[in-house]
Symmetry: C2
Subunit: 333 residues, 2 copies
């Protein structure tokens, strides 16, 4: 009998999530029903959206129930299958949860090809975050060569990919990130044009005016709050604002709205969002392009892999404090 170790949601946080909001459980792996697959989870993805899933109510997906396994994307190996499309030893991704073993309907899984790339990449560069960056930038904002693209949360998984794709498309790319190391990474490793360290920038409006006098043609926002509000003061005519997230706000009980939103009107700008689920049918476009760019050396990718599921409750908050460097993952032992 196989034993599963899992983390369930024990309480809903009002601010930051921490150990007290999860409970570790050990219990036997359940029997498979017809159509189900048993997966040994190798990697658990830590994503900003998880904080929202811990709230009650529904946004674009339902919140996790108290007592249920904490929802998370994961990648792993098929160890038992009662579904004709999956065989033992195949690699899959899906919403596998924070646990060692997942039982999931075959219909909800995606087979992935690990012949040329590591399995973990399907949780980042070639997974949801990769698709989010690719379609959020190219489909929603459609940047033209020579245009100025500003990215917040620029050293994060999605942000760093957005800026790299924008560079490939011939744009001038500016990133906002927290701390000198992250800014050095953007400028030196990724070759971006401008990096702004928001932790050492007392007046973001003035700094944006100074560094981007031509204004912003595309703003890809992962952060919200004061940074979104400052960026709104620098919109060029016809700017496309793509809201991907608002990581500065997820832990706030009363989020800040962008008081400068009327600048969208005067700049003839548009604001919309990116929901990656809408692009699943087109996933291969992104996977093919990104894989090609990686092979050509045009895209760099960093992973921050934390060993052991026991680190999960402590690690989720790194996304919000910005302590991590690159895509944050738990690797199961």
């Amino acid at each position: 009998m196989m034993i599963n170790i899992r983390y369930v949601l024990a309480a809903r946080p009002s601010g930051a999530a921490s150990e007290q909001h999860f409970r570790r459980e050990e219990l036997p792996v359940q029997q498979l029903e017809e159509g189900e697959v048993l997966i040994k989870v190798h990697y658990i993805s830590l994503d900003p959206a998880m904080r929202g899933w811990m709230n009650a109510g529904t946004t674009y997906v339902k919140g996790v129930e108290i007592g249920a396994v904490m929802r998370a994307f994961g990648a792993g190996e098929v160890v038992l299958s009662k579904h004709p499309d999956y065989a033992i030893g195949q690699m899959v991704t899906g919403l596998l949860g924070v646990q060692h073993y997942a039982v999931e309907k075959g219909a909800y899984l995606t087979l992935v090809n690990t012949a040329e790339v590591p399995l973990s990449w399907y949780l980042g560069l070639l997974g949801m975050p990769g698709l989010t960056a690719y379609f959020g930038l190219l489909d929603k904002a459609n940047p033209k060569p020579g245009e100025t693209v500003l990215v917040s949360g620029a050293a994060g998984m999605v942000g760093s990919l957005v800026g790299q794709i924008a560079k490939i498309k011939g744009c001038k790319v500016a990133g906002i990130a927290g701390g000198p190391e992250k800014c050095a990474y953007l400028l030196e490793d990724l070759g971006w044009d401008i990096a702004i360290d928001y932790k050492h920038t007392p007046d973001m409006v003035a700094r944006l005016q100074e560094t981007l006098p031509e204004g912003i043609n595309v703003f890809f926002d992962n952060v919200g709050g004061d940074i979104l509000n400052a960026a709104l003061t620098r919109l060029a005519i016809g700017c496309r604002i793509v809201i991907c997230g608002a990581i500065s706000q997820y832990n706030q009980s009363t989020p800040i709205g962008p008081s400068n939103y009327l600048k969208i009107v005067s700049a003839r700008a548009t604001l919309s969002g990116i929901i990656v689920f809408d692009y699943f049918g087109r996933a291969n476009e992104a996977i093919n392009d990104i894989s090609t760019w990686v092979k050509e050396g045009k895209i760099k990718y960093r992973e921050h892999i934390i060993p052991g599921i026991e680190q999960f409750p402590d690690s989720l908050n790194k996304l919000f404090t910005g302590e991590h460097q690159g895509k944050l993952l738990i690797q199961n032992s």
Copy 2:
């Protein structure tokens, strides 16, 4: 020698504009230069944008200088002309200012045809506000028959026209307005489907949920603040939000941002604004359609005409307190 009576901007308000921010002046009408036209101003338009023009700095147009004539749209009659396109007795509109006589370059004036409609209509139904409503709804939001259109500031000049055009296009139309008289006007005189009196609605989110369970396909916002924020909770998938103004915010030194803006993401909605100046080249489309609809009895129009320029400083604020009914104008004696 003709004497002009005019109101200049004397001081910049921090909150509401009132008498102390204007100064009445009497002085001789200036001589015409080549290319200029002298207009006897019959009607002065009072518009929400005027409050913004009283601020320092630049939005999409520059603020009025201290000591300069208060900027306002006006309609009047040519009484002298040094421009080949204008002859004495012709009727024109333009940024004529808060005064009895305006000297303006011919290039900045528009000839209007008053054979079939009153001159004053070119400041409302067939002027900027009419074009704003027409293009803001039809070009920016493109409503389909059967869709639900929500309008804030619904009994105002722009709002009431937006909703009437949406009814003509076969939409379900809901309006938010202040007070039972305005709501009765929307339901009984204009035949809208739903009217919500925000002054007597303690919980706007609940009220919108109750009255618009299907969600909003188009939101045309003249108001901003809490009403915008409440509307964001009721977006149907693919909602088009058109920001026309934020009259609840123009008198605030620290405007409120819409804290629910992430609902735009989950609803796959878009937010953009309407700047009527962008549509001047297409003005005749709007004037032709609106004129036809008026003749067919499909559009109703109300004017609130205040006699005498001396009423100007007191009257502007009616736009913000909502005391007026219909398009607010000053008629010069």
